[in-house]
């Protein structure tokens, strides 16, 4: 089974390092973040020979899992029913919500995501993310544009060519600090709750059980809290990244 193979050959984790602070490349080109740290722990827990972080473009991440190019996706992936038809998800290891970064001229005029639900507004998110799904679902009347990376969406909002950028709160927090001060308004109240989970190929209950067990274990022994502190409550890691 998969577990034996991981013990023998190591754990291969697919992720796209473009999702702060879940996974990101640092100055040296190494992949760091919440997920890589969890992957490290998981590899130890599963007794893997080694850990390999495979940086995969988002387009290729599901095929890579299906065709056994990696054992697990740990890339801040939101659990949706549609996706669950193709892959098996672990129990959610985190909940995030969508928030809005607003062009500063709209400060006061738009107080919540609901005010954006109007034909005259242009909103943006990243291609293929739950930000996109949420934007289309909860703000259906606004004109929607999807960008390849978050950075472009944020930049467009700063330049005032779209009115709002809809994305996960952890990312928007950092983006607002980095690019937004004085140019953006951060509506930090999440308007959705999305479970984030790890994905594995279908049909391996044993492996699924093992990773769920791992999740329970780290939540109990405090390792999870420690990492959560490091990546979500602190910004020390930004030094290493920029």
């Amino acid at each position: 089974g998969k577990l034996e193979q991981i013990k023998k050959d190591g754990l291969r984790v697919c992720l796209e390092p473009a999702y702060m602070p879940f996974e990101i490349t640092n100055k040296r080109g190494e992949i760091v973040g919440f997920d890589p740290d969890l992957a490290e722990l998981m590899a130890q827990d599963l007794g893997a020979a080694k850990l390999e972080l495979v940086s995969t473009a988002w387009d290729g991440i599901i095929p890579a899992l299906i065709t056994n190019k990696c054992d697990i996706i740990m890339s801040g992936m939101t659990i949706t029913a549609e996706r669950a038809k193709t892959v098996d998800f672990s129990e959610p290891y985190m909940l995030v919500g969508q928030t809005v970064l607003l062009r500063k001229e709209l400060a006061g005029k738009v107080k919540s995501y609901k005010d954006l639900d109007n034909k005259k507004y242009k909103i943006a998110s990243k291609l293929g993310t739950t930000g996109e799904i949420a934007a289309k679902k909860h703000i259906p009347k606004a004109q929607y544009f999807s960008y390849e990376t978050e950075a472009e969406g944020v930049m467009e909002t700063v330049n005032g060519r779209v009115d709002a950028f809809v994305y996960d709160s952890p990312y928007n927090l950092v983006a607002n600090v980095q690019r937004g001060e004085g140019r953006l308004v951060f509506l930090d109240e999440p308007f959705t709750t999305e479970p984030i989970g790890w994905a594995i190929a279908q049909g391996d209950p044993e492996f699924l059980k093992a990773i769920n067990g791992f999740l329970v274990k780290i939540k109990k022994d405090g390792a999870y809290v420690k990492l959560h502190q490091k990546w979500f409550k602190n910004t020390d890691w930004l030094q290493d990244v920029q």
Binding site: D59, I62, E82, G128, E132, S146, E152, E156
Partner: protein, 322 residues
């Protein structure tokens, strides 16, 4: 052996068929081996789907009569507040009211169904029209630049060389990026305009080189004959050189245009939803990765083969004077 023997060709054609069959079977086996559940039935809906539009009562009132009329029914209503009657058409099998029923404003009476184009069709359309628009503008840019490139004026020549080298030396992705986020922001360009602009500039540089080569491939004797008849440089270009060059540049231009169709997918970086991007959007929601990619590839193949056919036809037309 020098005697011509009409050796039978069909064994070779047979072999070709066998090889192709072998490849097809190999591919099919491969799909079996990959642990993937094929759901082709999901694909058609992305081309066109049956949309249901709810038909609601325009006012609070009473149903006077339902006139069934085959698949559709006309529902005749009269407002409680008085005024003129209204007729609402719905599909008979979705009818939710009967004669004499009392309905309130916005109450659903039934639905009508319409065919809507799906995202793949829309993406295909965007790809085609963006490619054609930028192909056309790029042709003009290329023509002008190509002429500048061989002009005797060093300023024109220098600018043309610089433009061509700059464009050919950098990735299109970066060009679209800079064009939109930079020049586009300054000039306040719409994203479609910026996308077409960047693609035109890109394809223009390649076209310029093709046109330059085409012009230079026309024998010098042609220009000399025209000049010796008293034609000016411009007249010589228009009447003698360009028409002949056109025939020669047609195949490389067509190749370039086919490339453009595929390269145009990079405009997705500035949030234009072309064929590739709609494919990707569908994949991220449905995860029907391989089905969609195969479909997208087939659609591209379709456009490019239609173009190849067109080129073939054009070339045959032009061969008249050979």
């Amino acid at each position: 052996m020098s005697l011509k023997r009409r050796s039978a060709q069909w064994p070779w054609h047979g072999l070709l068929v066998v090889i192709l069959l072998g490849l097809a079977i190999g591919l099919w086996m491969a799909t079996k081996q990959v642990n993937y559940e094929w759901r082709w039935e999901r694909v058609p809906q992305y081309f066109a789907y049956h949309d249901e539009v709810a038909q609601t009562a325009p006012f609070t009132g009473r149903i006077v009569k339902v006139h069934p009329d085959g698949a559709y029914s006309q529902v005749e209503m009269i407002p409680d507040a008085g005024g003129s009657r209204a007729i609402i058409t719905v599909e008979t099998d979705t009818l939710r009211v009967a004669d004499g029923a009392q309905v309130t404003e916005d109450q659903e009476i039934g639905v009508t169904r319409h065919w809507r184009v799906g995202p793949l069709t829309e993406g295909l359309w965007v790809t085609i029209w963006i490619s054609f628009a930028s192909g056309f503008i790029g042709l003009i840019i290329g023509l002008v630049t190509g002429l500048c490139r061989i002009s005797k004026n060093p300023a024109l020549r220098g600018l043309a060389v610089l433009y061509i080298e700059l464009i050919r030396g950098t990735p299109l992705l970066v060009q679209i990026f800079i064009f939109y986020f930079f020049i586009g922001t300054v000039l306040n360009l719409d994203r479609t305009v910026a996308g077409i602009g960047a693609l035109s500039l890109f394809v223009g540089a390649y076209t310029a080189e093709i046109i330059r080569a085409g012009i230079q491939s026309i024998p010098k004797g042609q220009t000399e004959a025209a000049r010796s008849l008293g034609m000016s440089t411009a007249e010589t270009m228009i009447h003698i050189v360009l028409p002949q060059a056109f025939k020669r540049v047609l195949p490389p231009l067509a190749g370039q245009f086919i490339s453009l169709i595929k390269d145009s997918s990079l405009v997705s970086v500035i949030a234009i939803t072309d064929l590739t991007k709609s494919g990707r959007e569908i994949i991220t929601s449905s995860f029907a990765t391989f089905e969609i990619w195969f479909t997208v590839a087939l659609l591209y193949l379709l456009i490019t083969s239609v173009l190849s056919q067109l080129l073939f036809w054009l070339e045959r037309r032009f061969a008249r004077s050979d």
